[in-house]
Amino acid sequence: MRNVWTICRRELYAYFVSPIAWVLLTIFAVLSGVFTYIISASFVRASLESQMSGQSFPMNVNEQVIAPLFSNIAVVGLFLIPLISMRLFAEEKRQGTIELLVTSPVHDLEIVLGKWMAAVLMYAALLAVLALDYSFLFIYGNPDWKPVATGFLGAILQGACLLAFGTFISTLTRNQIVAGAIGFALALVLWILNWTTSFGNSDTVQVLNYLSIVSHMDSFSRGVIDTKDLIYYVSMIFLGLFLTARSLESMRWKA
């Protein structure tokens, strides 16, 4: 465990002394800020209209602001996550520092876990910016905090899952751009799988829909923790990390 933390700490160091973390934080702050503004502005307008029209429509901050915000953020995540994970192993391979890691008394799994954990924490730092946006909703409104909490949990799980696959992809190449591009393509595929629902409701479609990563966010952002979604995320994380560990091992045989 100590080794995992040692590696995780160095990775965080690498994120935050290099421009990566700050560029990502900036992009994310701008995007999440814009989304928060647009969605809450239209919510305010709708509530004004409902007051002026005399009939009061049921208005709910959680359903009309926070839930759509989470699904927007989930999509933003798809784009930013490959940028977080692409360097994890590709950079080590390019610099030759991978030789230091794999000849140190550290198990492969510890290396993988440490790096993945750092990436998840990096992603959590992005979500912290979103929490800052939400704090305004709590100052000026009165939303229920539970769907917010589950929404963050869902966002983290989704991120952790994509990062696990991103880490795996990063072990396959020494070129960061390639790792980023493949990671992005994979995220895109996992995202659009649920578009197949428009083709009906056959078994295949249901399977594809289950595999789609975004569809599992919905219940979280509505405040529901569904075991089905939880199992999906956890098993995908395991799969991603397992593949990473195997890939790292196979690298030795091929080296």
Binding site: Q95, I98, T103, A255
Partner: protein, 331 residues
Amino acid sequence: MIQVQGLSKRYARHVAVNNISFSVEKGDIVGFLGPNGAGKTTTMRILTCFMPPTEGKATVAGYDVFEKPHEVKKHIGYLPEAPPLYPEMSVEDYLTFVARLKNVPVADVKSRTEQVMERCACADVRNRLISKLSKGYRQRVGLAQAIIHNPDVLILDEPTSGLDPKQINETRELIKSLAGEHTIILSTHILPEVEAVCQKVIIINKGRLVATDSVENLKTRAGVGSAIQVQIDTAGEAEAFIVRQRLEQVAGVSKVLDRGASGSRFVFEIESLEGRNARADIARAVVHAGWNLLELKSSTLTLEEVFLELTGSHTPPPPVATPAAATGVAQ
């Protein structure tokens, strides 16, 4: 400390290391010598558990590299050909990270980091980013990284490559000062380096073991039946063949070879019978014939010639590059 038996590493298209065996005693500094692409790096990578061997067995500090890699790694400090440095870290942060990674006890991390920075003369750049360091400093930080957990065995892959002569000397001195506490294997293709630093040499070529012996033994072994070179000035009194005949008559001489002439000066290479030193007799014979003896030296082979001979490129003077450069790079 290190035992290697029948070690091989094969790739799909070529054999990088072919059935080599050697052993290294505790406290030795061993030079791992061979032309580029001979399999030095591959062998080192197997010893450091970076990659498994295709065949054979290797044990370091009593642990098998394949069965107990974790234990082996604890006892090895490794400096790869390109020092494994993170450019975005400062020297001190980097060494602290490596200390933790190598399982240095938490309480000792700081003091060990200080010690190795002093030892490797990089304390003055402790706060500098590694990306801003000169090549010489990078190499020092690389060495510091290798010794930070006080390993029993140090494996250094071309520790002086790319350094300037002053830095090369400093690095060699540093390596020598590490002897005793550590068993050291260092790879190189620079021969004077081996003579300067190592007690023992392992020569490999094209993945095969060519020789393993002490530096002294190798030199004398190749110097047996050593040749004597003479330069004689006959001042126009005699032709080359007469001089040669005269020399051939000297007791103990087995063979006389023409090695060129200019005017009345002749150079001969004389091989004496084993165990005989014919130098005194040759000198007397030359003087007796009334010629001038300009030069008389016994040419024991330098390590360089031994090396060239052993690695298959022929001895006589022209120091041709060994053909092994074509055998592919050890990756």
